[in-house]
Symmetry: C2
Subunit: 352 residues, 2 copies
DNA sequence: GAGCATTTGGCAACCGGTTGTCACAGACGT
DNA sequence: ACGTCTGTGACAACCGGTTGCCAAATGCTC
């Protein structure tokens, strides 16, 4: 037995309890190979100029030879810097969202940060708990979701660098698109087509950007003397568009603007099912220019925002904030671009 | 000087070098509050049953009172378990991919794992380096991409638990969809419509699943006595479909099957631009049933795979592998479902 | 109530880096 | 020649957990 045990404990070490992570070299190995102290290795690798050029060269060579990769966890422990960012979204499959994610991912990767995605799908509570879970292991958070109350967000922002996308919680830095300009372009287009009564199918009640768009629409209606109505939708999805359709028709508007393209597409589908011709009898427009907007027939008129850039900008702002410890003042709202396609046309002579 | 130094080291400690991470409680705080040793706290929290129920209760209470959250980094350091999984994809914005990601995210979250996304976009080398970067900080990898050579994948799989989606590198566990069945259903449908000459617009040459589909198509062609041709596409995107269109027409087939829906959509767009009517003059079908497939007109006939489930299954298989240390034998290929829509119709009496 | 097996909790080492402090070396000035 | 200054590298403590080992405490049997 005893012999057996010692045999087990000896060289072979079947499941390698001494090598928790795959045989990676550590700074100690490098130190030994280069004949210096581990602390010198650490400094040579992370504090340029702190050690002499000669020593640094020697250490670099040794590190390369051993194919050294720093252990992020070990580094994060004493420094608190995890080199990881979280982006919290409500629904990954929302085409709007993944463009943002991609932009964020690029920006993060180019600064050697890793991005983790948290999807909160349902309730704000799930979202809060996801954030809570992630908090200790990230250096900052990009919040691209609408489920959380502004004060909750502000609270979180007090504990960790945070940038919100398309919402402006007080005291929290954010990246937003220029809703006023976007709506102005779109309404200008519709007015030019002769529309005087316009419906707006809103997003979730908690959505800051939906509220912004509605506000901008109100302002435009005053300027142009339009009739505008706000129509609720259950959710910012195709189903939300379906659900809102009857109220759209009931409102007798000649043009309807969806909070986003998904809602607009939902409305178009219902219109098609009901035999209502778009744009002859009803003009439809949306926001975001998601994939699919130009596939549907007629192709959807929409306002494009550069979501990749929004995501990237959020990450950049976040990194800046991490750097200097204080939130950066917000950049200008991001420009938007009206994309006119087939779903909008002249106001019909006689309303439905 | 000396007095100054001691003063500096004393209480105030302006930027709190003692509190690297936001005032989080540690197991030491809990230990103090509960009047036990930190190691006991550690065991109470992570090794159920190791300490007496009474002590555990006391510790739990203290932990709750201090709002304790374990520091994942500190735990990962000695154990090597990071509770993090990586999923490597070629292109986040590909609709096929994000469904998979969502499934993976759900499965990971429900096992308290965090998911990090790595997009490799371009070259296989970027992909390899991303993996290399992530390696030390994840417990496993889901590979949903085609850019890496099988032997490279096998090599990585030797160093870290890995599951491939839609490819079958030797000796690596994987989750794949049932290409034979998918193709069989689709071809059955086309044959029933009278098609006898069918084109297949392939995905990237490195794509295992594209090769599988082509193989299955060959087998079906023998069974049904069809003429089939393989047509290259630059990339598995709408643009790839555009690029392949002329060769499709030149081949004089009556039906064309795209490696995926994006390619199929690209072909349909070109056909529309050229005035070729789908499905009257050309039937088009794809794979995956992505968002947008039913928006395009005519709606795309396609073969749906449950990608959410594929992602989830990959993660589950990965977790099982992490648990018992040995790769799990692969599950059955995942079933698929033919979705017949408007883009396929009877073979035209006289070919183009 | 003694003897023994089994829990239970504490000690201390360790994971792999970072960093404050300090000693020593060499460069330099006078 | 000496003292000083600057630059360099080493020592050791620390980040916040985990875990092997051991001794004390407890429970059990007879």
């Amino acid at each position: 037995m005893t012999t057996n045990e010692t045999a087990d404990a000896a060289e072979p070490a079947s499941d390698a309890p001494k090598r928790p992570r795959s045989g990676r070299a550590t700074i100690y190995d490098i130190a030994e190979l280069a004949g210096v102290n581990p602390s010198t290795v650490s400094r040579a690798l992370s504090r340029p100029g702190r050690v002499s050029a000669k020593t640094e060269e020697k250490i670099r060579r040794a590190a390369a030879e051993l194919n050294f990769r720093i252990n992020p966890m070990a580094r994060a422990l004493p420094t608190g810097r995890t080199m990881t960012l979280a982006v919290v979204v409500a629904d990954i499959t929302n085409p709007v969202v993944f463009r943002t994610i991609r932009g964020a991912e690029r920006a993060a990767a180019s600064s050697n940060y890793t991005l983790v995605i948290a999807e909160s799908q349902e309730s704000g509570s799930a979202e809060a708990s996801a954030i809570e879970r992630l908090l200790p292991s990230v250096d900052g958070i990009v919040l691209a979701t609408t489920r959380l109350a502004p004060e909750v967000i502000a609270d979180i922002a007090g504990r960790v660098p945070l940038v919100a996308i398309n919402s402006r919680p007080p005291g929290v830095s954010s990246v937003v698109t220029d809703a006023a300009d976007a709506v102005s372009q779109l309404i200008g287009h519709l007015v030019a087509l002769g529309h005087t009564s316009i419906g707006y199918v809103a997003g979730p009640p908690t959505s800051w950007s939906s509220a912004q768009r509605w506000e901008a629409l109100l302002a435009e209606s005053e300027r142009h003397g339009l009739a505008v109505v706000e129509i609720p939708s259950g959710s910012p999805t195709i189903e939300g568009g379906h659900a809102a359709y009857r109220r759209v028709i009931a409102s007798r508007v000649t043009a309807v603007v969806g909070f986003n393209d998904l809602i607009a597409i939902g409305i178009m589908q219902e219109a098609a099912a009901a035999g209502v011709r778009v744009p002859d009898e009803l003009s439809v427009a949306g926001f975001d220019d998601i994939f699919g907007s130009e596939l549907i027939v007629p192709a959807l008129t929409t306002v494009r925002a550069d979501l990749d850039r929004a995501g990237a900008q959020a990450v950049e702002s976040l990194l800046a904030q991490i750097q200097d410890g204080r939130p950066r003042e917000d950049a200008e709202p991001m420009p938007t671009e009206l994309i006119v396609r087939g779903s909008t046309g002249p106001a019909s002579a006689r309303p439905l």
